[in-house]
Symmetry: C3
Amino acid sequence: MVDTRFHRFAGPIALGALLVRAGRSELAGALAAPGQVISGVSELELAGPDDLALAAQQGYAEDLRRTGAGVVLVSPALREDVPAGAIAVVLDRPHELFADILDLLYPASTRAVIAAAGRDDLGAPIFERDVTLGANVVIGPGVEIGRGTVIGANTVIGAGVTIGRNCTIAANCTIDCAHLGNDVVLHSGVRIGTEGFGWLDFGRANRKIPQLGRVIVQDRVEIGANSTVDRGALGDTVLGEGTKVDNLVQIGHNCRIGRNCLIAAMSGLSGSTIVEDGVLLGGGVGTSGHLTIGAGSVVHGRAAVTKDWPAGSKLAGAPAQDIRDFWRELAAMRKLSKGEKRG
Amino acid sequence: MVDTRFHRFAGPIALGALLVRAGRSELAGALAAPGQVISGVSELELAGPDDLALAAQQGYAEDLRRTGAGVVLVSPALREDVPAGAIAVVLDRPHELFADILDLLYPASTRAVIAAAGRDDLGAPIFERDVTLGANVVIGPGVEIGRGTVIGANTVIGAGVTIGRNCTIAANCTIDCAHLGNDVVLHSGVRIGTEGFGWLDFGRANRKIPQLGRVIVQDRVEIGANSTVDRGALGDTVLGEGTKVDNLVQIGHNCRIGRNCLIAAMSGLSGSTIVEDGVLLGGGVGTSGHLTIGAGSVVHGRAAVTKDWPAGSKLAGAPAQDIRDFWRELAAMRKLSKGEKRG
Amino acid sequence: MVDTRFHRFAGPIALGALLVRAGRSELAGALAAPGQVISGVSELELAGPDDLALAAQQGYAEDLRRTGAGVVLVSPALREDVPAGAIAVVLDRPHELFADILDLLYPASTRAVIAAAGRDDLGAPIFERDVTLGANVVIGPGVEIGRGTVIGANTVIGAGVTIGRNCTIAANCTIDCAHLGNDVVLHSGVRIGTEGFGWLDFGRANRKIPQLGRVIVQDRVEIGANSTVDRGALGDTVLGEGTKVDNLVQIGHNCRIGRNCLIAAMSGLSGSTIVEDGVLLGGGVGTSGHLTIGAGSVVHGRAAVTKDWPAGSKLAGAPAQDIRDFWRELAAMRKLSKGEKRG
């Protein structure tokens, strides 16, 4: 469910009317129940009977079969996986209609988050006692800050953000679309809740997929200077309890980082990377998106992780492999090149 | 031509007098026309009859032969390539004299841009209607901002910058020496128009080459959180229409990025990289400078591009090669190492 | 010695009492001189007779033998290396007790630096003449700024920081725990003096090692946009005279960079990297920590330096090797893969 603290909802609206507004009257006309009310948009696994959800690719078939969504946009290949209780809107390239619908239901979301204006519905900020604000701190409507939290000078906190107790937020940070737990530390220049890099029609129109999710920063997380954490596209980007992130790290939309991980400087996690508990990432590690690094894994500096790895993996290289294979390959290479003249 | 909105010109001055002030009386004495007026400094291809330009290396011979510059500083090897209409000042290491002249004609440019002081000549900022400024936004003299543009809290916009209509500039950004088109989006912490990394006498004096160019950000460009775009040394760094740049990306001086490109997080483009239209760069891609990536190319994550590639290239690896060669090499390596004991 | 301009000292205290407060009465009880006063904590090589220091690993044996510290915490293996004048507190995992002691003697250091509050002991800031402050600049107690220095808008300067003469600090920077020389240039978004990434009990408790050092930025250093320089854990992170650092570079705690180095964009130096004078690092270079790159070395872009290299080295590759070996290996690889079918 899109969190309306961060993204204002322009509905509810009947499905038929919504499709007409999206310029798809032919789809509206084909509906058995055009009056079905849409009260929000959600991910398949969290959607309820008034929600609309998307299943564009085969990888979502499993989630689709179990969804509680009232309405699903699906590509023809997934038609058979729509559960009995859901209304299916079947079309090619459902992503495009989905983006149209997001723009209609949560209008101008990029600008609305940054402008942080017109959110009087959220009410005045609420501070518990012993909150310390540095000079020129800017606090949006509806912000809540817990007891004992310190906010450094010139930091900007956007509409609806909540920050727990005893947090330490350094100077010159920006926080949007996020809920922070207790004892969180953000060092200077951190950006939380920026938009993920999600586009349709790559290299031609580069149309933005609206970024309507949040960032959840759990207790005792620490994030280093000038690091960036994008909000979910839908749903959440999550940093688990006790996880520590170094400087200049990029965490893409919908990443889920477990508890007590360490992520060294200049690492970059592409969208929907799952890092389980207690994983160590060395400096400059990168990941392709939509993969899982199992609990307790150790990924050496500069590794580029390109696929799932089980718990306890020890990885190195680009593309990353088991570190024993990495060393073996390096040794083979060294031996081979001995036959060559020194360049 | 150096844009005097951003870099104040201390001239005009006669060429002979300029060389004397630069401590090169012997060069002044050798001039046939020491009274030739210098009204600005420019790149070879854009220079006019009152401009001074530089041709230090063989790679500029072609531009030199076609230049309209009134005066050119050239190394002896390029003497024959100076066109008939231009006055040639011939010397070894012309870069050094060129830097001296830039410092004389555009004094203290590093500091002048950052101080943004003493630019009363630019007049008061001009806003079209419906411009929204967040708290603590700082606007320099001569700034112009178009209708419907939103500027987030604590952002700093330097002297002379122009921003088009319906732009969305997030919090805590810094913009100097730049012209932005319409519908541009900058996410939080973006730095536009910082100085390029250009030095003489590497590793010894590390003398700065004055950075007197601009950044041109065309319509519908979007730039991710904490990314940096350096201004040209002379001339412009350009991001073409519809190009989207992710978080923590570095774009060096005088890069020219085409239209509708996508540049994923943590990529770094060295100075004078040319990226043609519709190119996709994966995460963590790097380029050596002074090279061209042809239109529609796809460069996979972590590739290090070291030379020109034609349109439609598909690249991977470091140094980057055709992706089929990359996979072939990886396969050969994997096969070879099977003979080795696992490390 | 921890610099009390940046980190307030809660002592002095007798060693016995300190160990009791740290919950180690058994160690206190075993002391011959429990009344020994502790007036500060220091690195082995700089410690004096009232200082406490740590020697946890074999690599510190040499420093331990020469230390002037009054008290040393050592692991059993190092017991024999404690010099005659020092009191040895011998225990397993001395790092953990050391962290406890740092927290007792310099309490809540993360928060204290960021809050910059309660430091009235430092007195009002002191400016020489001709200091120019941009709008919304925030200056902590005890800051000193030299003649002719310019500070850009929205920059935040923490308690006790000193800045020399004729420096140019751009907008939106953050400076803590640092002493800057003369003619230093920081571009926009630079973070100086943030905490190093130092933890105990990796991947489980992730306990922070208090970061109580400083950053020393010598004359004529220049640091590019959005780069980050962590303060020492104990002791200093140092950038030597005339060294120039590009955008988006990370410099870890206790790095020591020599004079007149050039460090190109997106390089990352892990903790305790020593870079000697006149070294050139290309873009995207990384280093493992605790190693030395000898004077005048040239490290090509993307190299990952994993061990010591002597003066004048020319390095490439990941892991980095002599560039001639790098090219030889690349050639062998290219030759080998010719036998494979193109992928």
